[in-house]
Symmetry: C2
Subunit: 112 residues, 2 copies
Amino acid sequence: MSFADTPSPPYYAVIFTSRSSEEAGDDYAKTAARMAELAGGQPGFLGIESTRGEDGVGITVSYWESLEAISAWKRNEEHQAAQKTGRETWYDRYELRIAKVERAYGFNRDAE
Amino acid sequence: MSFADTPSPPYYAVIFTSRSSEEAGDDYAKTAARMAELAGGQPGFLGIESTRGEDGVGITVSYWESLEAISAWKRNEEHQAAQKTGRETWYDRYELRIAKVERAYGFNRDAE
């Protein structure tokens, strides 16, 4: 996973917290990778950060220029199919939050 | 890790993405747990979600009632000391974003 190279705020974040089910196997991993690739080609996409722990809980944050860009990505057909399988099979639970990033700062040892 | 039981929006999220250094050992894990506990006792705290992958990249999202609550937590003395050691020792890199949550929804298989 790499850090998202986002511009100065304001921009939007989609915070997706999920717990995988026991049925989330190779097909899930493949689809997750495909969705990250597909999102990267959408208008208004700014970046994505994602990690999952050994307990099956993952947090993925994607960054977008506008609420309209987020809505369009939600409606994307291939993404819609993945969302459906996610609810049917891959996730026991998820929470999705849409938020407007107002401030941002960072630290990078290599850049000090 | 459990899901944060947040109220209806609006509220605020602090998205903290980090990559641990090789020097982040037991003392780091202890401090991280202590900070989560300490945050939980701060005025305006709403919840926290956190996960870290095998590659050392972690995402922690804490939720707050207001920007003032976030500022007060940032200034907390014990937290300030942890932030300092984080920059000196535990993190190779981090990005922190403060965002206003405008919409939220979820899915829970057990509740279907």
